[in-house]
Symmetry: C2
């Protein structure tokens, strides 16, 4: 008999994260209860529905799977989150109940990695600036000459899944990658083909990419003193979270015009309408979309469903979140 699976996302949200292949896969392997209400379930509706669910599939907008909501979910085996972090979705206690938790966050990391390379190369070659100057009727009046990435040194803050996705894409560029991450072992660094470094060393690189998760320990970890280390002419990329950076100190540095920044995240989002960041010439700014892509989103549910099936078959899983991982997650 097929196991019972409860898919929490209504159709409107499902179509973004669940491919046709994923629908087929779910129906083949599970007795699926699809959300046909046209809206997200409330906490109360959810509490009523979980009693026979063996697998629960969630995505953005799904109600929190609190202890209370899952009180009657006595048959629950696996929770798969077709989105990013599960930190706010499942409580830590779920692990002690033996429920296995899966998150598609590493799949999102690929989109972030591609964004980082896109933003880095576009910044090195002044693409947005040149495009704007041509639209303004110019040709080469700015006298800008781009820079190559090949052979550069890149400083990475935190060896997170997004950093790892980015590092993989750097392979053909023969770059020298320095990583600051207190949890990265010498062996893991060697396997990634990177060198462990201090935060000061990383912040002194000509290219810097921030991948630190938002945690109490990382809040404003990039202090005024550290931001002052960014070399003139550097490219600084933040695709993680705004509050990791002391934004006022960062604005003071940016105002000098001495380096370029590609910023996808900000202290306050949406970025306030009159933010001075919006008019700086030395930034490339995007609305927190580094992790968002058509293909990436459409793969999310399929990836976690496949992994849950692997888990049920007692095969090696890829997207499973352990209690230890949950603790250091953003």
């Amino acid at each position: 008999m097929k196991k019972k699976a409860l898919v929490l996302s209504p159709e409107s949200r499902l179509k973004e994260v669940c491919s046709d292949k994923c629908r087929t896969l779910l129906n083949e392997h599970f007795d699926v209860s699809w959300n046909e209400t046209g809206k997200d379930y409330t906490k109360e509706e959810l509490a009523e529905m979980v009693s026979d669910a063996e697998v629960i599939i969630t995505s953005w907008g799904s109600p929190s799977l609190s202890e209370e909501a899952l009180e009657k979910a006595v048959k629950l085996h696996s929770i798969g989150h077709a989105a990013g972090t599960v930190k706010n979705l499942v409580p830590k206690q779920i692990f002690s109940r033996g429920v296995r938790v899966f998150s598609a966050a590493p799949r999102i990391a690929l989109s972030v990695g591609e964004y980082c390379l896109a933003a880095l190369l576009a910044s090195l070659r002044h693409l947005p600036t040149l495009d704007a100057s041509l639209r303004a009727g110019q040709w080469r009046e700015l006298g800008l000459k781009g820079r190559e990435l090949t052979g550069s040194t890149i400083g990475i803050i935190s060896a997170s899944s997004t950093a790892r996705a980015f590092i993989k894409l750097l392979a053909p560029f023969q770059v020298n990658v320095l990583v600051y991450d207190p949890y990265l072992s010498e062996e893991a660094a060697a396997a990634l083909n990177v060198t462990r470094a201090s935060l000061e060393e990383v912040m002194s690189c000509p290219i810097i990419s921030v991948h630190a998760p938002k945690l109490p320990a990382t809040e404003r970890m990039l202090t005024r003193e550290l931001l002052a280390l960014i070399p003139n002419g550097a490219v600084f990329i933040n695709s993680s979270r705004g509050p990791v950076v002391d934004e006022q100190a960062f604005m003071d540095e940016l105002n000098s015009g001495r380096f370029f920044a590609a910023l996808d995240v900000f202290e306050k989002e949406p970025l306030v309408a009159d933010s001075p960041i919006r008019s700086l010439p030395n930034v490339l700014i995007t609305p927190h979309v580094a992790g968002a892509s058509v293909q990436g989103h459409l793969s999310l549910m399929e990836e976690v469903v496949k992994d849950i099936i692997r888990g049920l078959n007692e095969e090696k899983t890829t997207y499973e979140v352990s209690e230890r991982m949950w603790e250091v997650m953003a």
Copy 2:
């Protein structure tokens, strides 16, 4: 005794293409005559100076090394061009005189390859459009979702050195690369890990990159009929030469808004001030700078000098241009 080398570029141009390392290398290996006139030599000055030159080093702006100019260059062994194509620099007859010709064009190809990946990723992720929308006070109002490169199919027109540099950078993206090039053998395609395809197949890919040299045979090779094959939603990149494309037909296609183009080259350059291309929403435009980068330019002379030394030592050369290559060059 050191061989006599004649460096044609004046200091003002030399500093862009000749690194300190290259100056040292030249002085170590040759008895160098540097151009201290502050300007390019005229044809007449050159004709007077070549009689004892065994090596001539040129770059942008150097006078053409015509048969006439080289009449007295009886000791000439090698010509090294620290720039792109040597087609307009040396006449075909030079080869029958046994002079070896070197061009740094393949070094420029790396900058072009990086530009292509930069333009492609920036286009897929709508970076210039999003940056402009944030500067206009918006956040996510455009509702644009980017696309990933990983797993895509890419059509390449001409397996030139710039195409090969681009293809190398695509390695981590697990893409499927189709190449149209009448000179590309099955074996060479396999070595590049690409598939040979017809021009029609390549023009039907969701990502298309043009690398064809400007030759009589390639003029307007991308006809109205071929341009009509570009799929909706595609990204089309031209980093080779404007005249390869039927620009009026291309404008008609672009005006439909049905695909996006990253254009570094145009039929007429500089792009005319009132060109309608300048105001299209679905293009990323740059002023013919794909091959221009600080590091790339500063490596040019060093690369050809090193290769000339290899040639003199009867070692394998990298940048040497054969008579056969000269014929199919742009």
